[in-house]
C-alpha cells in the first residue's frame, strides 16, 4: 500500500505546505467514499452476483459511500472475482495499470484468493496475486455479501490506522 503517494504527491512538497490540507481532504474522501471497479477474471459468476447483491437494497453498500464505477481510471479499489484465466491475465494487468495511485486490490472468493476448485485446470493461472498485488482476501465460495462488506470495511480500517501511524 502506498498511502499518500502517487496522485497526491504530485501536488505536495515540503515547500507547498498549504497543500497538505488538500492532501488530507483527498485521503479523507477516499476513506469515506471508496469507488470500486468490479472485474471478473473468469469466475463462475457466484462471486459476481454476491458483489452485485451488496449494492442492492438489503445490503446497500452505497450508504457507506461505496460506488461502483465503469472505468478503472475513476476507481480506488479493484474488486476481483474468480481465478485468473489465461485469457484475462493481460486484461487484469491493463486494468490495474490504468488505475491511479494509490490503488488497492480486493480478491473476492476462494478462487480469487488461491485458484480454489479450479487449481490445476489448464486454462487457469492461479489466484489474483499471481498477476497483481492484493491488499485484502475475502474467502468463501462465494463469500456472503456481509463478508464482502466486512472485507472492504477492514481494508479501509487498515488504511486509517496507517494514516494515524504516519501522523505520529
Amino acid at each position: 500500500m502506498s498511502g499518500g503517494k502517487g496522485l497526491c504527491s504530485l501536488y505536495i512538497s515540503p515547500e507547498k505546505r498549504k497543500f497538505i490540507m488538500f492532501d488530507k481532504l483527498i485521503n479523507w474522501a477516499r476513506m469515506k467514499s471508496p469507488w470500486i471497479i468490479h472485474f471478473n477474471t473468469g469466475s463462475c459468476n457466484g462471486c459476481d452476483i454476491e458483489i452485485v447483491s451488496t449494492l442492492t437494497p438489503r445490503y446497500d453498500l452505497e450508504r457507506f459511500g461505496v460506488q461502483q464505477k465503469g472505468s478503472p481510471r475513476h476507481a480506488d479499489v479493484l474488486v476481483c472475482s474468480g481465478p485468473v484465466t489465461l485469457q484475462t491475465k493481460d486484461r487484469i494487468q491493463r486494468v490495474y495499470e490504468q488505475m491511479t495511485e494509490p490503488k488497492f486490490v480486493v480478491a473476492v472468493g476462494t478462487c480469487a484468493s488461491s485458484g480454489g476448485v479450479f487449481t490445476g485446470c489448464y486454462g487457469v493461472s492461479g489466484g489474483i496475486d499471481s498477476v497483481v498485488p492484493v491488499s485484502a482476501y475475502i474467502p468463501g465460495c462465494p463469500p456472503r455479501p456481509e463478508a464482502i462488506i466486512d472485507g472492504v470495511v477492514k481494508l479501509l480500517g487498515s488504511l486509517e490506522k496507517k494514516e494515524e501511524e504516519e501522523k505520529k
Binding site: C44, N45, I49, V52, T56
Partner: protein, 406 residues
C-alpha cells in the same frame, strides 16, 4: 456511409463458453453480428477427468454460480444412469424443490438486469430486493446462498423439516404477490412495452431452425421444455404449464420469464404438500461401471446437456457440457441483425447469458478511416439509454411504482 465494426466482449465468465460479439454497423443499424467463443476458458471438462466422481460434483457445480444446481443435477443424473441406481422419490422431490427455487432466483435476477440495461434501475432494485427472499430460503435449505452443494451421487445431502416447509410456503406467498405486480408492469406499463416490443425479433421458424432454447424459444411460441418433454427428478408427477408467448421479441421473453415464476410457485407448493417419506440417499459404488450416458435438464436459461463416459474406474473418462447459452448464441446474431446499436445491450441481456459481468470492452473500428476507439459496456448502455430518451422513452418519468405486497 462507411461500415463500422464493433467488437463487443469478450469477457463472459458465466458459462463454460464465454462470448464476444463483433457487430458491423451501417450508421446506427446493425448489418451483421458474429459471435466469438473461447474466452475465459478454464478447462473444466479436462479437469473432470483427473478428479473422482464425488469431487467432480463440486467442480461441475461451479461451472456457473447462477445455475449451479442445474449443472450438478445434470451431471449426477448421468452418473446415476451409468451406475444403474434409482434415487428415492423424497430425494427427487427435494431436487425439484431446489431446482425451482433456483429458477426463481435466476429469473428475478434477470428481471433486474434487464431493467438496469434499459435504464430502469427502480425495477432492478425492486426485483433484487425480492430475490433476497429466495436467497434466504436457499441458504436455509442448503447452507449456502450460491453453489448449494445439496446433490450427491444417489440422492441429496440435506432433508427438509416441517418448520422449513412452513417458512418456504410463507415466502412463496409473498413472492407471488410481488410477481403479480411484475407481470402487470411488464404487460401494461406503457414505457416498458414501447421500449421492448418489437425489439430483437425471432420468429417461430427461426427459433426452431437456430435451435433456440428455454425462454428464448418459448417466447417465439415454441413449446419446448425439458421438464415436460423428458421429465427428470419429480417433474413427471408435478402438474404445471409450459408458458409460451406469441410476441417473439424481448418483451415476450420477459413475459415468459415472469409467468414462469408463477408456475414455479405452483410446483413448489405441490412438491411441499406431497413430499414423500423415505431415505435421502441410496448407496452407489465408488467405481462407476463402464459406459456412456447423456442427461438433459431445463435450466432457467434453457436446456442443459451433459455427457459422461466412464471406463469403470473412480474417475470419468470424458465429460462434456453443453450449456443453454451456447444454444441461444446462434439466434442472438440473428436477433441483432437489422436492429439498432442502442438495442444491443437489451437484446443480448434478453437471452440471459449470465450477465453479472459489467466491464466488457468494446472496440469500435471504423473500416474506412481504419481508426479504433474503445468503449466499455457501461458506455454502450449509457448510449442506449440516452438514445431512447431522445426518442421519448424515459424511465425516470415513471413515478407511480407501487410499494406493496410486503
Amino acid at each position: 456511409m462507411g461500415k463500422v465494426v464493433v467488437p463487443v466482449g469478450p469477457q463472459h465468465p458465466a458459462l463454460k463458453e464465454p462470448e464476444g460479439f463483433s457487430l458491423t454497423l451501417e450508421g446506427e443499424k446493425v448489418v451483421s453480428a458474429t459471435v466469438r467463443l473461447g474466452y475465459n476458458h478454464r478447462g473444466i471438462e479436462k479437469a473432470c477427468e483427473e478428479r473422482t466422481y464425488t469431487q467432480n460434483i463440486y467442480l461441475i457445480e461451479r461451472i456457473c454460480g447462477i445455475c449451479s444446481h442445474t449443472h450438478s443435477t445434470c451431471f449426477i443424473q448421468c452418473v446415476e444412469e451409468l451406475a444403474g441406481v434409482e434415487i428415492t422419490s423424497r430425494a427427487a422431490y427435494i431436487r425439484t424443490l431446489v431446482g425451482e427455487l433456483e429458477r426463481i432466483h435466476s429469473h428475478l435476477l434477470w428481471l433486474g438486469v434487464a431493467g438496469h440495461e434499459i435504464g430502469f434501475d427502480t425495477l432492478f432494485m425492486y426485483s433484487w430486493r425480492d430475490r433476497e427472499l429466495v436467497m434466504d430460503l436457499l441458504a436455509m435449505l442448503t447452507g449456502n446462498r450460491v453453489n448449494y452443494g445439496i446433490n450427491t451421487i444417489g440422492g441429496v445431502r440435506r432433508d427438509v423439516s416441517s418448520e422449513q416447509i412452513k417458512d418456504i410456503l410463507k415466502t412463496v406467498d409473498k413472492l407471488e404477490e410481488r410477481t403479480k405486480y411484475y407481470i402487470e408492469v411488464l404487460t401494461q406499463e406503457t414505457t416498458i412495452v414501447q421500449r421492448l416490443a418489437g425489439v430483437g425479433r425471432l420468429s417461430k421458424e427461426d427459433a426452431i431452425r437456430l435451435g433456440a432454447a428455454g425462454p428464448t424459444a418459448r417466447a417465439a411460441g415454441v413449446k419446448r421444455d425439458t421438464r415436460k418433454d423428458d421429465p427428470y427428478a419429480a417433474y413427471g408427477e408435478v402438474p404445471f404449464e409450459v408458458i409460451t408467448d406469441q410476441n417473439s421479441d424481448v418483451l415476450g421473453r420477459g413475459i415468459v420469464r415472469v409467468k414462469e415464476l408463477m408456475e414455479s410457485y405452483k410446483i413448489i407448493r405441490y412438491v411441499l404438500e406431497r413430499l414423500p417419506e423415505g431415505e435421502l440417499t441410496v448407496k452407489v459404488p465408488k467405481k462407476i461401471p463402464a459406459g456412456e450416458a447423456i442427461s438433459r435438464y431445463e435450466a432457467p436459461r434453457g436446456e442443459d446437456v451433459h455427457y459422461v463416459k466412464s471406463n469403470g474406474t473412480e474417475m470419468p473418462e470424458r465429460v462434456k457440457v453443453r450449456a443453454p447459452t451456447l444454444a441461444n448464441l446462434s439466434s442472438i446474431s440473428h436477433m441483432l441483425e437489422g436492429g439498432y446499436l442502442a438495442d444491443v445491450p437489451i437484446i443480448i441481456a434478453a437471452i440471459d447469458p449470465c450477465f453479472s459481468c459489467t466491464d466488457r470492452m468494446i472496440t469500435v473500428t471504423d473500416r474506412e478511416k481504419d481508426s479504433k476507439s474503445m468503449l466499455d459496456w457501461n458506455k454502450l448502455r449509457a448510449y442506449s439509454i440516452d438514445w431512447h430518451k431522445e426518442r421519448g422513452l424515459d424511465f425516470s418519468a415513471i413515478s407511480h411504482l407501487r410499494e406493496d405486497g410486503r
